[in-house]
């Protein structure tokens, strides 16, 4: 029986009833990765180590953990000891970290097996995976179409059924938007829920790791393992981590879902809008109530984000200077020349653009007008959410205004066009709130995602609402036809 498109829960059963061994499972997963090489989901494979670890699991026969022997893929911005970590950038194309990110370490300690590192937008800056130094990732649903970004490789690897789940990071929608475009489930947890130690920083106050998987149930399994305080990340939350999997099957009768008045859905593609209306009905049928809420400042999310994220990134990316690691330009006159050449050769255009914008926003004379102003508006946006959550349990929006688009069709003339793709996802990063994207049908044979935003630390509610939806529908079971790859 093929392991392709199987969920973690499915694979666990197969491993437990011995219909497959860990080694066979990993072998198949690795073979699928090879078979669909053209998708370009992976930057680096971890074959030798994976096979070894699977063999060891078979020998030890210890399967106390749900994740034992399960193949996973890690976004290539999680540092993995001894395994190349590139952030899909030329500047890190030869970087071998001497340590492993906490989130990945927790997953690996629970017995899961990292089969490879996935392609992404360079340093997670992008919404289409087109800024990767290692080339575009194809959307498994349609060749030549983007998988979304920045966790595009992770989303495509899961959508193609190569691995049941993968890690991603989400700074402005980088888990949820590719999950939506690839027809899978993706969760951005509360800021601080998962340690950022070992996650190569894009924007420190917005970055958050999370799972991409076929089902909300699998997301809960991964979140259970990835969450928790880490002394190495003093911004990781020191609060109790509930058992997300255990809480996933509660009735949603009486669940109050808010619809954001300021998001005028009639501006959207009529079919994307129709999908949304239908899911709303489905939720109503399951007992949820819909209430219109107003978040007066939410439309300022995109400009707020594009001031804060580049500012933080301009500083975070200063360490890539060619001195201690990463690409160093050849034949340089002096230290300054070394910096300028190494960085200019090492970074792609979008990364440079954002560093420059951030440098500008922080520079003398502009700091108050751009950076500080944005952080003030950020508080207004957070206050709006706080008010909304007085009367609702969750908020519902489309994940993305569009379905996946063709390579090169957006943002090449005007970068802001691509930034607007993040309209629905960005605000939860600004406020630090959890949000999930679940597939809810297709438009022109391409998947569409539905987003639920939850209150602070209420991933349990989101996962429950998503799971109940998936129990009562089969959108999440739809599989792409991979015949073109």
């Amino acid at each position: 029986m093929s392991i392709q498109f199987k969920s973690i829960a499915d694979l666990r059963e197969m491993l437990d009833d011995k219909s497959i061994s860990a080694s066979e499972l990993i072998q198949e997963s690795l073979e699928l990765a090879k078979k669909y090489k053209e998708l370009n989901c992976f930057v680096t494979m971890n074959e030798e180590f994976s096979v070894k670890k699977a063999n060891a699991i078979d020998v030890n026969k210890k399967t106390s953990s749900r994740l034992s022997g399960i193949p996973l893929a890690q976004k290539d911005l999680f540092c993995t000891e001894g395994l190349r970590t590139t952030c899909s950038s030329k500047i890190l194309s030869n970087f071998i970290p001497p340590y492993t990110a906490t989130a990945v370490k927790k997953l690996e300690d629970a017995g899961s097996i990292t089969i490879g590192k996935t392609n992404m937008d360079e340093f997670a800056m992008g919404s289409s995976n087109e800024t990767s130094f290692f080339g575009n990732v194809h959307n498994p649903w349609k060749k030549g179409y983007v998988p979304g970004g920045s966790s595009g490789g992770s989303a495509a690897a899961v959508a193609a059924g190569i691995v049941p789940a993968a890690t991603g990071t989400d700074t402005g929608g980088s888990i949820r938007q590719p999950a939506a475009h690839c027809g899978i489930t993706g969760l951005k947890p509360t800021y601080g829920r998962i340690s950022r130690w070992g996650m190569i920083a894009f924007a420190s106050s917005l970055d958050q790791a999370g799972p991409l998987a076929r089902t909300a149930e699998d997301c809960a399994i991964l979140l259970n393992t990835m969450s928790g305080h880490d002394a190495k990340d003093t911004t990781s939350l020191n609060s109790n981590v509930p058992d997300f999997l255990e809480n996933i099957n509660q009735p949603i009768d009486g669940l109050k879902i808010g619809l954001i008045k300021e998001f005028n859905l009639s501006d959207l593609d009529s079919q994307v809008q129709a999908r949304f209306e239908e899911s709303k009905k489905a939720y109503e049928k399951l007992g949820a109530q819909f209430i219109e809420v107003s978040l007066p400042n939410i439309s300022a999310s995109v400009p707020t984000y594009y001031s804060i994220a580049p500012a933080e990134c301009s500083s975070n990316l200063s360490r890539f200077d060619g001195v201690r690691f990463g690409h160093r330009a050849e034949s340089t006159d002096d230290l300054n020349d070394l910096y300028i050449k190494s960085r200019s050769e090492g970074f792609g255009d979008e990364v440079k653009r954002r560093i420059l914008i951030g440098t500008y926003a922080l520079s003398a004379g502009y700091y108050d007008a751009y950076y500080k102003k944005a952080q003030q508006v950020r508080r207004l946006i957070k206050n709006d959410f706080d008010n909304a959550f007085q009367s609702v349990d969750a908020l519902m929006t489309p994940t993305s205004p569009n379905t996946a688009f063709k390579f090169g069709s957006k943002g090449t003339q005007n970068p802001v066009e691509l930034y607007l793709e993040d309209l629905f996802t960005i605000s939860s990063n600004l406020a630090g709130l959890p949000a999930i994207s679940i597939p809810h049908g297709q438009v022109n044979s391409l998947p569409v995602g539905l987003q639920l935003i939850g209150n602070f630390l209420r991933e349990d509610q989101l996962l429950n609402a998503a799971h109940i939806f998936q129990k009562n529908s089969d959108y999440h079971l739809a599989k792409p036809n991979l015949g073109d790859f």
Binding site: C79, P98, G198, I200, S318, V323, N336, L362
Partner: protein, 345 residues
Amino acid sequence: MSWETVIGLETHVQLSTKTKLFSRASTAFGASPNTNVNLIDCGLPGVLPSVNKEAFYKAIRFGMAVGAQINQTSIFDRKNYFYADLPKGYQITQMDLPIVIGGSIEIIIDELTKTINITRAHLEEDAGKSIHDEFEGFSAIDLNRAGTPLLEIVSEPEISNAKEAVAYMKAMHQLVTFLDVSDGNMAQGSLRCDANVSIRKKGDKELGTRTEIKNINSFKFIEKAINFEIKRQIKILENGEKVVQETRLYDSSKDETRPMRSKEFANDYRYFPEPDLLPVIISDEEIQKIRDEFPELPKEKEIRYQQEYGLTAMMRKSLHPLSPWLISLKLLYKKRKITPFYQIG
């Protein structure tokens, strides 16, 4: 024409903690190159800082000793610039909300007491070390010192000459060693200063254009560097020329200051709150605890010893004109055969 000198000092005190300000690597001096360096100090991708509590306590202890206001909520900021021995491309320091604000230090010059006010004192991390002359064509980077906690103490521009500057630094040295805030080892760079020197016509209200002499690490050099700089600036002004605002280095071998070679045409550090560190909030209980552990203050001690042991001002002056209480303590130790002097009192 009669000229007046105005000097402000920025003193960098290396705090005597066991570990670094944002990592748990050792701060021990003299380790072989790049061994007191962990993932954080190396500025590797993906690492995050965490604050050393003891460094905060030491900074607070200093603040209390100089009668300053302690900011119980203080935040860290990033100061962005590129340099080979600055691993992250930014230094974590404190800009808007430093831990210590105000306070003062007394110096004694010719038996007269003068109060030098302190503007602020903030915590920041030290950079690594660049070795320029050991390898042909290369500078070599040793990150052992990177991340070592420093307390930067900024004085008001109230110092009038090199002698006062030396007196201020000596008083500072005694205070921080007495408080066990620093080992005060100047040869190892535990106490060093930048001197901002400017000259104006006597009676002028406005300050003249200043130059900053960087990284002076001995009492002798402080005096020499400042005196050289005063003479240099007066000469410029007397020729009817203008002093250029710049950073200078003191070259002890030639006994002169010279401008630092720098290609920076724009010095814009783009300070912003460090998003990897939340604000540090020190509770009232912690403040009380630090207060309770406080060693007896030098001045109080001086009064007591003067009363108890009859040390006269004359005796003190003949031994060490600038450290009345230190001398008293030394005599006392001798008497009691006790060595570590911080524990007494």
